[in-house]
Amino acid sequence: MSQQPAPQLPDPARTPLFYQRGFRSVLTQGIYVALTAIVLAYVIASLDLREFGFGFLSEPAGFKVGNQWLVDVDGVTNSRITMYLVGVWSTLRAVLVAILLATLVGVVVGVARLSSNWLVARMAMLFVEVFRNTPLLVQIVIWYAILLVGAPVIQNVLNVGDFLFLSNRGIAIPWPVPSDGLWGAPDWFVGIWVLALIAVGAVAMRVRAKRQEHERETGRILFANRWAMGVFAAGALISFLILGVPVSIDRPVIEGTSYAEGMLVQPEFAALVLGLTMYTGAFIAEIVRGSIQALPKGQTEAANAIGLTGYQRLTLVILPQALRQMIPSVTNQFLNVNKNSSLAYAVLFDDLFRVATIVQNKAGHALEMFFVIIITYMVISFAISAVMNVLNARVTAHRI
């Protein structure tokens, strides 16, 4: 606050009450809130709340959902809320994978749009124009149709060295699974290995921090990252030697008309993730382009002047700075991925929205299910925002 003397105001005691700012403020808000309250009251009164309650969610589901991964729920004995949580788990998987892939696609295409190679820049522009200006719903159903019709049926499965299988029932890839330890220890032994890895990781991070601090103090280059990676590799090797091989790689096999073992990426999941990735990737590409273009031209010139290669210029100078500017917009796009994942409804993917409508169709209670849906999406959105805020704080911690 400044130390200047306060300007001479008219004596509040002599101003009529109606013209006082405080009174005005309270009056306006009072009227506004009263009107809002009346509208709210009308809304609540219009709703049919006679059977409002969430008890129906604990009744047996009576249906089974597909595309389960790491869970096995049959639906006859499990409750509706369990089925809903299976749907939430499916949504989370799709959203997470789509966010990672969309970021990758977005950065690559965004940089490509600014490429000095005319063809590459034009191709990137075409990509953005096509995927950004067509409805996501249609994109997803097109991907699904292409996967169903384009991929071979399981009888003619495409077998890549008994390692990867491709058919219109999905792509099966090898996947690590827990197995017995060196001394024939049981499954839970894997947990100890994971704990050991976490401990080693913590030690490595500590080493890195120490060396970085030292680096800052002395100005000598101490290769903090390389040291940390070395420590982690050594620790992992030692724990691996002591605890044996607690993880084995499962190769997919075909049993009849199904895949067994390995990990299966189903075409429904693939279509949803492809759609979300391309659509969101096109938007992120525009954000990346805008952020790079907003940088002063001197940055590129300076990078060239000190003799960085094109790749170094991009990864060391341009992208780190552009990142600061693009994180808020990119966060918005991530939130959109979360919301747009509800379009799984158009393909045969049992995400939370579809499971919710099935439950609603069996039990009624549209209003309650609506609350459940909205709150779930908001919680996921909140989690994404929280992670991105942490990232944003880290990126903008040092002022340039």
């Binding site: 403020s25 309270v26 808000q29 709340l49 219109n168 158009a346 045969l348 169709n361 009624g364």
Partner: protein, 373 residues
């Protein structure tokens, strides 16, 4: 209010909090005051017969993607077995009532459409079940079509019965009774399966493309859809049925009069077949009824006697006659829409009174009209 207090807190967050709190309390008070009469009016959904007559439009929820039952044609119109019953009810309500065919293809939202008044009657291959009757607030009229849950497989798959389906991928429409039957049946068999659930059309496409080994739905649905495919011979519909699926028109609970009209239009069309009244001869039959039963059904006097209205005053006694004149009797509707795609002879949908001597043992019709008197 004290002026210094006002100056101090005029636009601070505390004022906001207090004002908001007061508002919420006020809203709750208002709700408490108004909710009692609101809920009373919500209990009785009113009189649909009168409402339809007043608005001049009957809103009938039908499928738009199932050949033979409810299907959208290239010119935008919808036709099929279920649609004929919509037209019959429209005709029964009298002149000046138009028909609006609302898309109820999505199985997951159909009952809400009914409950929210988006449609007045749901005629969309919907199975009568206790939970729908009770929990979802749907009232069902007479069954229009009897079928059961069947299975279609690829001809070269080597699957002959549900016991062969362990571990297979099964396409099933979400939000249907078939979805639940499937889970129950495989639990009983002690077999595991992978469901692939979604919309009606999507599941068919997935099955045809070979995404799933088995496609389950009402057997009539399977027959009607596979029958029209170019490569129909690549698929086999198994004889095994795992459930009873009586498909019936649904109306809202607590509207007895409307349910009676819908119910007796269906019975009336079946009765017309039993009595030999057709679309072609209904006018002459009405002019000169051969017996009292026909006269009562058509709502005309028999040899100068009184007309029996049976209390159907709101639609007047000739409502069944109008329905028959509009779409024909039950047999005609069946022949004109479903036809030979799902053979009627010796199926459950044949009249109970049909000659069963040519039918295999254990088959034969059960469709018959309740007495209209």
């Amino acid at each position: 209010m004290h002026r210094s207090l006002l100056r101090k807190y005029g636009s601070s967050w505390r004022t906001g909090a207090i004002v908001t709190l007061v508002a919420i309390l006020g809203a709750l008070a208002l709700v408490a005051c108004t909710s009692s009469d609101e809920q009373d009016s919500a209990a009785g959904r009113g009189n649909t017969v009168q409402a339809v007559k007043d608005s001049g439009v009957l809103k009938c929820g039908v499928k738009q993607t199932q050949p033979l039952f409810g299907f959208r044609e290239p010119d935008g119109t919808v036709s099929g077995f279920d649609v004929e019953f919509c037209k019959a009810i429209q005709a029964a309500l009298g002149d000046g009532v138009g028909l609006e065919l609302v898309d109820a293809s999505d199985a997951s939202t159909r009952f809400e459409l009914l409950n929210d008044g988006e449609i007045d009657v749901l005629i969309r291959t919907t199975t009568i079940t206790a939970s729908r009757d009770r929990e979802l607030g749907v009232d069902f009229a007479q069954t229009t079509f009897y079928t059961g849950q069947g299975f279609a497989v690829h001809a070269d798959s080597g699957i002959n019965a549900t016991s062969d389906m362990g571990g297979r991928t099964i396409c099933v429409q979400s939000g249907t009774t078939t979805e639940q039957n499937l889970a129950d049946h495989f639990t009983d068999l002690g077999l595991d399966f992978t469901p692939l659930g979604g919309g009606d059309q999507e599941t068919q496409d997935a099955f045809v493309a070979g995404r799933c080994d088995v496609w389950t739905a009402d057997q009539s649905n399977l027959a009607s859809r596979i029958g029209v495919l170019d490569n129909a011979s690549d698929f086999v519909i198994l004889g095994e049925l795992i459930s009873k699926e009586p498909l019936a028109p649904g109306v809202r609970d607590y509207d007895s009069e409307w349910k009676d009209v819908v119910n007796w239009v269906v019975h009336g069309l079946i009765a017309a077949e039993e009595l030999g009244i057709t679309r072609a001869n209904v006018a002459s039959m009405a002019a000169n009824p051969p017996n009292t039963t026909v006269a009562r059904l058509l709502g005309v006097s028999f040899e100068g006697g009184e007309v029996s209205t049976l209390g159907f005053d709101s639609v007047n006694a000739q409502f069944i006659q109008r329905a028959i004149a509009a779409v024909g009797n039950y047999g005609e509707i069946y022949a004109n829409t479903v036809g030979d795609a799902v053979p009627r002879a010796c199926s459950l949908n044949a009249l109970a009174s049909e000659d069963k001597s040519n039918c295999p043992p254990g088959t034969g019709g059960i469709q018959y009209a309740l007495p209209y008197r």
